[in-house]
Amino acid sequence: MSNPRPAVIGADVPRVEGIDKVTGHVTFVDNIEPPGMLHGMIRRSQVPHGRIRRIDTSRARQLSGVYAVLTGEDLLRMDIDPYIGPAFKDQAPLAIGKVRYAGDPVAAVAAVDRDTAEEALDLIDVEVEELPAVFDVQDALRPDAPLVCERLVPAGTFADLIELLGGGDVPATSNACFQYKLRRGDVAEGLRRSDRVFEHTFSNPPTQHSDLEYHCSIAQWEASNRLQVWTATQSPSYVRIMLANMFRLPESRVRVRVPYLGGGFGSKLYMKLEPLAALLALVAGRPVKIRLTRNEEFFTITKHGLVAKLTTGVTRDGRLLARDCQIMWDTGAYADIGPRVTHKSGYTSAGPYQIPNVRIDSFSVYTNKPPAGAFRGFGIMQVCWAYESQMDIIAREMGWDPVEFRLKNVLREGDVQATGTVVHSLGLDQCVRAVADAVAWDYREASAPHPTGDGARHLVRGKGVACSMKAVITPSVSAATVLVHSDGSASVLSSSVEMGQGSDTALCQIVAEELGARLQDVAIVHPDTDVTPYDLITAGSRTTFHMGNAVRMAAIDARSQLWPTAAELLDAAPDDLTAQDGRVWARTASDRSLTHGQIMMARFGGRAGTIEGHGLFETHHGSTDLDTGQSDRVTAHWMCGATAAEVEVDTDTGQVRIVNLATAVDVGNAINPFACRQQIGGASVQGTGPALLEEMLFEAGQLTNPSFVDYKIPSFLDLPDRLQPLTVEDPHPDGPYGAKGIGEAGIFAIAPAIANAVADAVGARIPSLPITPEKVLRAIAPP
């Protein structure tokens, strides 16, 4: 069957959960409280690196109201595998033997309330012998650097991280835990033949996700040795598998449920508090909830800092001939998903350009700082910061229009990307053109200051552009079930997590479209691993593409079970049926129609029965040469975006104000155009944070700004004067209705676009984020 026209797809339908959200009735994990629940809290290391000598918990144990006290030593005595980590099993829920950063959990308490738990934490005596520590990636790679992690055990869970098991030139006794290597053409030769060679180093500091909902997990053991977990995670399926491994249980005895999330942005991926809550609950014999404070968020997961040295050769006619990328990622004290960040951003570290000679060496490096993991884009923001800053320097030094320079080199349909994979369905050219138009791009050769119209001498304006692309995580698996109930209404069983991105609505739209049901008759069942099938993760802009396909297949499966009955009733061939707005009819006789309820009634002979449709969507990776990174298929689809910014700089203070910010993302085909623009606009504004404001500051390994007092995220007052979220549609043949993932692409190019606009305004280049007024002022008027 095919619909006369998509009815629900492509419509700006309001969010299916909207009413619950504006009335405050949505459930977050912290609203849940099983009877008898205790509160778990964490004691953290004060020192950045040290050997644990002794932890005395005796006084804490004696405090009235305390049910459980745990240390890393205790974990070793339990019948569990205490080590976790999505890439390497390098972390335990409580530090064992060594602490590796100031903030590392060393002990935990479960007590009747938070006051008691906090008091108990104070009664724990921790003795740590301090070890030399390392805080900077370049220091960490010196041969004599203190070793943060002594032993690397690949976790072996994720199919896309197969490279962890070999490859790279990382010595076993180095703080580099992973190397991504890419070799294409001959970089040395390419640079030799170039007319100009540019070498620059760019950096950005660690930042923090600051999703407003803090991490929160609840664990409860049933007497039958069954573990129930409610948790704020973006990866329920993964959490179940890992808890099953840790406690040596069959997956069927671990149940993970996820209600709504108050934002994620990568911070709630993989395992965070779940194992510790389960351990405390096991020991206490009562359900335990752990929730973090804002302060603790900063010590739980961060976005990677990066140092990138790029050497780029260009020809006089404006072509990129060779690019060498030497990149170091600060993954902190535990790798978390650092290797995937290094790996996934590795593919496109040379930029979204046609470059015949490319060399990429990208290292994931341990330091004694809070662990770094996934953040919206899995590292693309950071590499884009480097290559798009350099693209602008090159363009301006060569006297080329930065937009034209990019358009001359961007990858297009059929081009071979640096990994050897052919590019399909990449609307990057259109994205760049769209944002250039949106800011009325007007290239001026000389970078003379451009005063504003109001005549204020200290205010100058400039424009900048930047663009980027990313490979979606491949291989991956998403499965879904669609249930059609006896009245014809439908439930969508999916392990995709609704964390604000609008996936519930998009998935319901797809099911409504395929069944021809009314949107209000389709409801989503939130992740519950006993009920909702496997999904890799809700991250990496993969839900619409992957889970979208899975629920579409499940809906089609359900439909194919219903249609024979309908065809019989309508005296038509099943292929001749069509459906919309809750009615099914034969194209040849549109005067007669049935509701889904009537079809169910006929099928089961009464108000009874369930039709169950299944969908399984898998993507596959081509084989990869570990020495060159070359593969015929590194990804199932590419996503891309471009940003143009116009800024106004106060030359007396260096302050940057964003006058106009336009971001275009190739959405393939918008399932919900409003939701697409909202994601792009939200990502754009969120991206101004790391660009202008956000930075985790450390002094001797101690974080000095772990609160919103000194860590500022964009507010109403930081909004650009004008914000333009734009969509470009280059449909993907494998996407549902041609749709692609879009959650991340809006944030990729924000920082370099702003930096390039600042450079255009004042002729000064800021090579490190954030672009603070002080850096700008020093660049234009050294003290």
Partner: protein, 288 residues
């Protein structure tokens, strides 16, 4: 938060008696905007909190011909919205619009704001420039301090632990005194100031009869350089003199480096904002 006992006196005398009784074990609670943060971070752990914010009458805003009196428990928001304040001290009302946020201003009290003596707060420079003083009650009876006397250093006032601010007196500004409060935030505008400048000028014809310039956030206490102000007095507005005044403030600033900027940067923007504030005040005073 560590447990404490919240004491709720009904009168100022009761509050003072409780202070005398508990001494350093007690802290006064105004709106609690700042104190609850300190309690939560366990930077302070008093056994008693004496709530003065809800003492009847302590939030009165009254005025006579010479003086505006703000009861110590007046909330910042109430002051901001008071017609009397808007008429008599518009700069104070203006400055208040960007203090903290709407929720903080709804609870924070003027007494607590001043007693906290945080150099980053916005009102001390404005109130210093307006010549405000505080009425203090305690064991020693009533005392009056100018704000210049009140602020001793970072988070430090001249008050004894057993004393409380009961009211803030703002003298009626002399006719013709016009001013501004300019706030520069180097991070988000939704932040406390990197530097805040209160500048007031009074014109006498085309000449400056009086200049008051007080800078917040860049020194242990509000920064006022009378000898720099004097450079303007009796002069016509000229950019050279203004620049020199600004330079002197920049040099005299003694800021703490933080995420908002280094010492050097903060001195530089102090100079810029003193210049801009004086120019803006001059425009309002009809001098430019």
């Amino acid at each position: 938060m560590r447990p404490f006992d919240l004491l709720q006196p009904a009168t100022v005398d009761e509050a003072v008696a409780l202070l005398a009784q508990h001494g350093e074990d007690a802290r006064l609670l105004g709106g609690g905007a700042m104190l609850t943060i300190l309690l939560r971070q366990r930077l302070v752990a008093p056994r008693y909190l004496i709530n003065v914010a809800d003492i009847p009458g302590l939030n009165a805003i009254s005025s006579d011909h010479n003086t505006l009196r703000l009861g110590a428990a007046s909330t910042l928001r109430a002051i901001e919205r008071s017609d009397t304040i808007r008429a008599r001290c518009p700069v104070l009302a203006e400055a208040l619009r960007s203090v903290g946020n709407i929720r903080v201003r709804n609870v924070a009290t003027i007494g607590g704001h001043l007693a906290h003596a945080d150099v980053h707060l916005d009102l001390p420079p404005v109130l210093c420039a307006l010549g405000a003083s505080v009425v203090v009650l305690g064991r020693h009876g009533d005392r009056h301090f100018s704000l210049d006397e009140l602020f001793v250093g970072y988070y430090e006032t001249c008050l004894a632990p057993t004393e409380m601010i009961a009211a803030v007196d703002v003298p009626t500004p002399p006719p013709g005194l016009q001013g501004v409060y300019l706030k520069y935030c180097s991070l988000s505008p939704n932040d406390w100031p990197t530097v805040g400048v209160a500048a007031f000028l009074r014109a006498d014809g085309e000449r400056i009869a009086e200049a008051r310039i007080v800078v917040g956030s860049v020194s242990p206490r509000p920064l006022r350089l009378t000898e720099a102000e004097d450079l303007l007095r009796g002069e016509r507005l000229n950019s050279g003199a203004v620049a020199e005044v600004a330079r002197r403030y920049g040099r005299a600033a003694d800021p703490l480096p933080d995420i908002r900027g280094s010492e050097d940067y903060k001195r530089r923007v102090t100079e810029v904002y003193v210049r801009r504030a004086v120019e803006a005040a001059a425009t309002r005073a009809g001098l430019a």
